[in-house]
Structure formats: C-alpha cells, structure tokens
C-alpha cells in the first residue's frame, strides 16, 4: 500500500507540473502585453481625466478666470501652490485682488485634485501632459498665469473650462 502511494504520489506530482507547463506553453503564443512606449506615442491614449500638470486655461484674449482668491493655496495639503496678488481699489471704491503670479510646484504636488475641485471659478485644471521629466529641479516650479494676462470679465454665457484637451505648454514659464 505504501509503495502504491509512493508511485501514485509521483504521478500526481508529474500531472500537476505538466498542468503548469501547459499554461506557460499556451502563454508562449498569446499576444504580448508590453507597451512600446516612445514608439507608441502617437497611438497612446491617455485617459482624459489623467492628472499630470496643473494649468490655468487662457482664452484667445489672453484672459483667465483666476480671481486670486487663494482658496487653492489654502486647500493645498503640502503647500505646492502659491498665489501672489496685489490688492487694488476699483473705481467704485471696492477692493479687488489682481493676480500677479500663480506658482505651482510640480515637484511637491501630490495630484490630490483638491485645488481644482475647490476653485470657485474653475480657473485651474489638470491636463494630460504626462511627460513632465526635466533635468533641472528649478524648472518644476511653474507659473500658471501668462505674462500680461488678465481676469476674464464675467459673462453669463461663458462656459467654464471643463475638458482638458490640447492645451499647449505655452503657459509654462521656464
């Protein structure tokens, strides 16, 4: 009986091993899952919710929607955003903030999206430009508002910036 078990054990083991080998044999001919990254750049689809780079969309008049309220700066968990603004007095005597610089640190951002969802005027969004590697750490500090840009006058018909399609990197200050 013991001898029989011994022989049976050998065959069960061999059968189980063969089962494993059949699986790898089949896999030998399956299509490979590797993506060839730099080559497939043209066909690569990045999900349009992918968060890579914080940008401030500007329209054709070089206007943005940021009111320099600083809520994004306050909400950022690790201080990656800095909003520099000056307060001026408008003609009708109201105090108003004007955006000087909206600085965002790519290096320390954790992409938690809190700034985007809390922004009351939908002025900033994340885009899909995932190739963010640079050789110099200082280049990671982006200025989001363009030179000489100004606040868009509020009109009722302006649609808020929703999609983050092809926004060029022009607004990035090197």
């Amino acid at each position: 009986m013991k001898f029989f078990n011994y022989i049976e054990g050998i065959f069960t083991a061999l059968r189980s091993l063969a089962g494993g080998m059949i699986v790898t044999w089949k896999e030998l001919f399956t299509p490979k899952v590797t993506m060839q990254y730099p080559e497939n750049r043209k066909t690569l689809t990045i999900s349009n919710r992918w968060r890579s780079e914080l940008i401030m969309p500007h329209d054709e008049n070089n206007e943005h929607a940021c009111t320099a309220c600083g809520i994004c700066m306050m909400n950022c968990p690790n201080g990656s955003i800095e909003v520099l603004s000056t307060t001026i007095e408008t003609e009708d005597g109201k105090k108003k903030k004007i955006l000087n610089k909206h600085l965002w640190n790519y290096g320390s951002c954790t992409f938690c999206n809190l700034c985007v969802i809390t922004c009351p005027s939908d002025a900033i969004i994340f885009n899909n430009e995932f190739e963010g590697a640079v050789f110099d750490k200082s280049k990671l500090l982006h200025r989001l508002n363009r030179e000489d840009s100004k606040l868009r006058e509020r009109k009722k018909d302006t649609a808020p910036a929703t999609t983050n399609t092809t926004i060029k990197k022009e607004n990035k200050e090197a």
């Binding site: 069960t12 083991a13 061999l14 189980s16 091993l17 089962g19 494993g20 059949i22 699986v23 790898t24 896999e27 899952v33 999900s47 919710r49 992918w50 968060r51 909400n75 950022c76 968990p77 954790t110 992409f111 938690c112 999206n113 809190l114 969802i117 809390t118 994340f126």
Partner: protein, 543 residues
C-alpha cells in the same frame, strides 16, 4: 452589554462608564490590567480582540485608548481609556500578556508618546531609532530640526532590550535583556531585500537554515502621517490615507471619509455609495492580485508574478479612466466621490469580469495545484485561531485561520448589506489557506461587482457640504475591510476644523507582528514564503 457594565463596576468601582456611540470606560492606570484581564476571560462576552491601542496626549494627561471587541461578534465594541498625569516618566501597565498585538503597539506608543509599559517584555522604541530626542506625537514636542539632525551615518542597532518588570511586592525593576544569544548566526532579511516588499527589516537568528528567532525592526519609511493629519483640515487629510497601504488606497480613503461623514453627519448619495463599493471591490481585486503575484514570486515563480501584474493592469486602466490615477486614485471625498464614472465604465467592468474569471482558472492550473508550490505552502506557517485573534491578524490571513472577521459581513458599510457574497473562511491556518483565500476573494469581489454594476442609480455623486467641515467634539472610529484586513480610522475631535488626534489601525502591523511566531522553526525559504502569504505593506506599518 448590561452585564458587562455591572461587571466592570464590580471590579473597578471608580471607573467612569459612559454610553456614547460605543460603551466607553475610563479607569485608573492601576486598574487597566485587571479590567482587561477580566474582560478577556469573561464568559458572557469575551473581549478577546484588541482592535487598536491609541496613544493620546490630552495636554495635562498622557494616556492610552484601548478599543476592544469580541472575536465572535465584531459589532460589540468597548472603549477603555486610561491616563497618567506624570509627563516626565509616564508608566502604564502592559497588556501584552493578554493581547499579543499590544506588544508592538506599546513599543510604538513609547517611541511616539514616551509612555513606557510595565511588564512589556521588550520596551525598545518601535518606528523610531533609539537616539531620537523627544517624543514627536506629544503636543508640546519641539519641532526643531536641530534636535534631531538628518544624518547620513548609519547607527548600530542595539540588540539589548530594556524592560520594566514589576516584582510581586510591587517594586519596579528596570532590566536589560539581550535579544539574541552570543553565538547566534544573525542574518538581516531586509531592509533592502527583494522579498520583504519594502523596507522591512527582520533580524533573523538562524540555526543552519532553520529560523530560531526573529526581531522585527521597522520604521524605515515612517513619515508621521498621523501627526501630519493633526495640522490638516479633514479634506486635506484624505490624500495621505492613500499613502498608507497604497495597494488598498481607495479603501483606506473610504474609511477616513466614512469616519468624517459619521462625525459630521453627512448623508452620502446613493450613486456615490454604488461607485464607492464597486471601486473598493476593484481595488481589492488589484490588491489580491498583487499579493498573489508577489507571493508566487517569493516562492520563486517569476512568471506568475508577471501574470498577476498583467491582470492587475486591467483594473488600473479602469481606475485611470475613472479618476485619472492608477495607484493613488483619489476617488473618495467627504460626502461622496470626486469623479463620476465615465460613460464606458460599465462596459469595461463587465468585460473585465469574465476575463478575470478565466484567468483565475488559469492561476489554478498554473500554480494552485503545482506539486512544488504545495510543498512550499501546505502546513507551512501555521497560525491557529487563538493566535490570529490575539495578534489581531485580520483579512484573508485571519480568515484562513478560521476566524470569521470580515468587516463587510459583520459591520456592513456602504452597500455591503445589500449584496450577496460569501465570506471565505478556511480553518487550516497555513500559507496555502491564506493563498487560496485570496484567490477565492477575488471571485467573490467579481460576484459583488456583478450585482452592482447594472443598478447604479442616477443622482448626485457628492453631498452638498459646508465650505469648512467640522466634526463635533468626540471620538469616532470606523473600520473597513481592505485587501490586507481590518483597517480602522480613529479621530478624536475638539470641534476644530482639524482633528486633535488621528490614528490608523493598520492590518499589516498585526500581520508582521505574527511573523516571529509562525516562522519559528521553519526554514529560511519558508520565512520568505510566510511573509509573502501574510501580504503586508510596509508604509501601512510605519505610517
């Protein structure tokens, strides 16, 4: 529970017993051990599961909050609080002899709060090194980099464990005990090692190939997340939970969201609940797949590793399309979810389900019955039910030891009370049972998703919130079932916009604390196999 109240009153007449959301008992430090011993040995309701130990600094007092539960009925919870006013040399009694899980937790509290525990057999600091000056989680800790400068010099690890022992006559004696024998052959498994899944450090005494003793040394990736949370608002805290057990990022975040929602009494819309549950289950699948893959890799089957990663990729693609993140997906927010599902979400998930089922079969043929794999897993690393409970090992590992501890089943949250699913429990308690549990749970998760995916109601995805979320004064606790086990979030609030204290109950810490026990006497190769089968994630331990 009434009996319990009377029972406690009988042993500790001065105890303050309050019926808050959970039964909360405050006792004097001298009585803690006695009360807990009686609760542990209680015949009516045996509080044998210590969910977590939470070190606290209330300014004038330093203390510990013990959260106890009953292993057979996880809905029964009891909170025990004790505190000492001595800030210079705070001493409390250890409960390590009652609950093994207390051992590492008490050492952690010592490192972070400076409370030492009498009768703990090994009172070294955990998570911080011996030279650290000050106790960083105390409220009066000086946050001065000069005090603890960054250093590039590695310091020797001390193998001498201090401890405080109480003699029978009540006298306290401080002792120094060597951890290893003089002639032990000590091998460092970690912190840089291919199979510790991160910067875990097992100092292993070997006798030939046989493991004699293991000293767990951790803290290489300790970031002080709990301390960081104290200075953040509730929405800001969320992104840190993703960085604990990053393989169950979404589920961790779900726990914190629920805890905040519980405190601030926010109703989560139905649609958000559906999305949360589906995403949690997808996350569980991806976590289990990675656990399976790395476990196989630890056993030397590199090919299985790639297969697991390949299937996980499909889940990550769905995450990526839903919320723009793969590992850290930032999906849950207080009151709901951040992103609504994308139009093809249902289609993609429904395509994934049969694909994954097919692959589960393939795994079965490929590895589950492989004679070598069986030899490496069956009867290896045996963990019995009592030990699993005492060490607080939950999740697939705990359920492999016959402990039905699925939070989804016992304390249902989100939609788990509305879906039908089986809790996978095995009684063997070995590596193989843990291994099979994970594969079976993937199948169950697919089953859950299948029930939900077609019924997602329309509606809002996030509740309307006040701009600043505040939680009323009190203590809040919420646990969830992550891929690794019971993950809990404890918040003590003073009504401010940021919490007074946050504590995460980490399932991985329990898993790692049980390694020395179950791998004693095993082969070195099996130690690797056992750690793989327990499936822990180091950032979850170090926090």
């Amino acid at each position: 529970m009434k009996e319990i109240i009377q029972f406690i009153q009988k042993i500790a007449p001065e105890a303050q017993i309050e019926q808050r959301k959970r039964l909360t008992v405050t006792v004097r430090p001298e009585e803690v051990h006695l009360v807990m011993k009686m609760l542990r040995k209680n015949e009516v309701l045996c509080f044998d599961y210590l969910i977590s130990l939470i070190g606290m600094d209330w300014g004038d007092r330093l203390g510990v909050i013990y959260q106890l539960s009953v292993s057979t009925d996880l809905t029964k919870e009891l909170v025990l609080i004790t505190a000492t006013t001595d800030r210079d040399n705070p001493l409390l009694y250890s409960v390590t002899d009652l609950y093994e899980t207390a051992h590492l937790n008490e050492r952690e509290i010592y490192a972070l709060f400076g409370i030492r525990f009498i009768n703990n057999p090994d009172m070294r600091r955990f998570l911080l090194n011996d030279e650290w000056k000050g106790f960083p989680f105390r409220k009066d800790y000086l946050h001065d980099p000069k005090l603890n400068p960054e250093t590039v010099v590695s310091s020797e690890i001390s193998d001498i464990a201090p401890r405080i022992v109480e003699k029978e006559n009540g006298e306290l004696i401080e002792e120094q005990v060597p951890l290893f024998d003089e002639e032990d052959y000590i091998v460092n498994i970690g912190p840089q090692h291919p199979s510790t899944h991160g910067v875990m450090h097992f100092r292993t005494a070997l006798d030939g190939e046989i493991v004699k003793k293991i000293d767990v040394h951790s803290g290489y990736i300790h970031r002080g997340i709990e301390k960081l949370c104290e200075s953040m608002t509730y929405p800001q805290m969320l992104h840190l939970t993703d960085r604990l057990d990053y393989l169950s990022a979404n589920i961790n975040r779900h726990a914190l969201c629920m805890c905040i929602e519980k405190g601030a009494e926010i109703e989560v819309p139905e649609r958000a609940q559906y999305i949360r549950t589906i995403m949690d289950e997808l996350q569980r699948i991806s976590s289990h797949l990675l656990a399976w893959a790395t476990h196989c890799n630890d056993l030397g089957a590199t090919t299985a590793f790639i297969y697991g990663m390949r299937e996980r990729e499909h889940v990550l693609d769905i995450f990526d399309k839903t919320c723009g993140g793969r590992l850290i997906i930032n999906q849950n927010v207080v009151g709901g979810v951040m992103f609504d599902i994308y139009p093809d979400f249902q289609k993609d998930v429904k395509a994934f389900i049969p694909y994954m089922r097919e692959k589960l079969k393939e795994y079965d043929h490929f590895f589950s019955h492989n004679a070598i794999a069986l030899g490496r897993m069956v009867h290896i690393g045996h963990l019995c039910r009592e030990d699993a409970i005492s060490y607080g090992v939950t999740g697939p590992a705990g359920r492999a030891s016959g402990w039905s501890c699925d939070v989804r089943k016992h304390k249902p949250y989100a939609l788990y009370d509305r879906v039908a699913f089986k809790e996978i429990v095995r009684t063997e308690g070995d590596s193989y049972a843990r291994y099979l549990n994970r594969l079976d749970e993937i199948a169950e998760s697919l089953h859950i998703i299948e029930q939900l995916i077609d019924n997602i109601p329309s509606g809002a995805i996030c509740a309307k919130l006040k701009p600043i979320i505040r939680i009323p004064v009190g203590q809040y606790f919420q646990s969830v079932e992550t891929g690794k086990g019971e993950f809990g979030v404890f918040i003590e609030s003073t009504g401010e916009k940021n919490p007074y204290r946050v504590k995460f109950r980490s399932p991985s810490l329990s898993a790692v604390s049980v390694v020395p026990l179950i791998s004693r006497g095993a082969f070195l190769s099996d130690l690797i196999g056992i750690t793989g089968s327990l499936d822990f994630v180091i950032p979850d331990i170090d926090r």
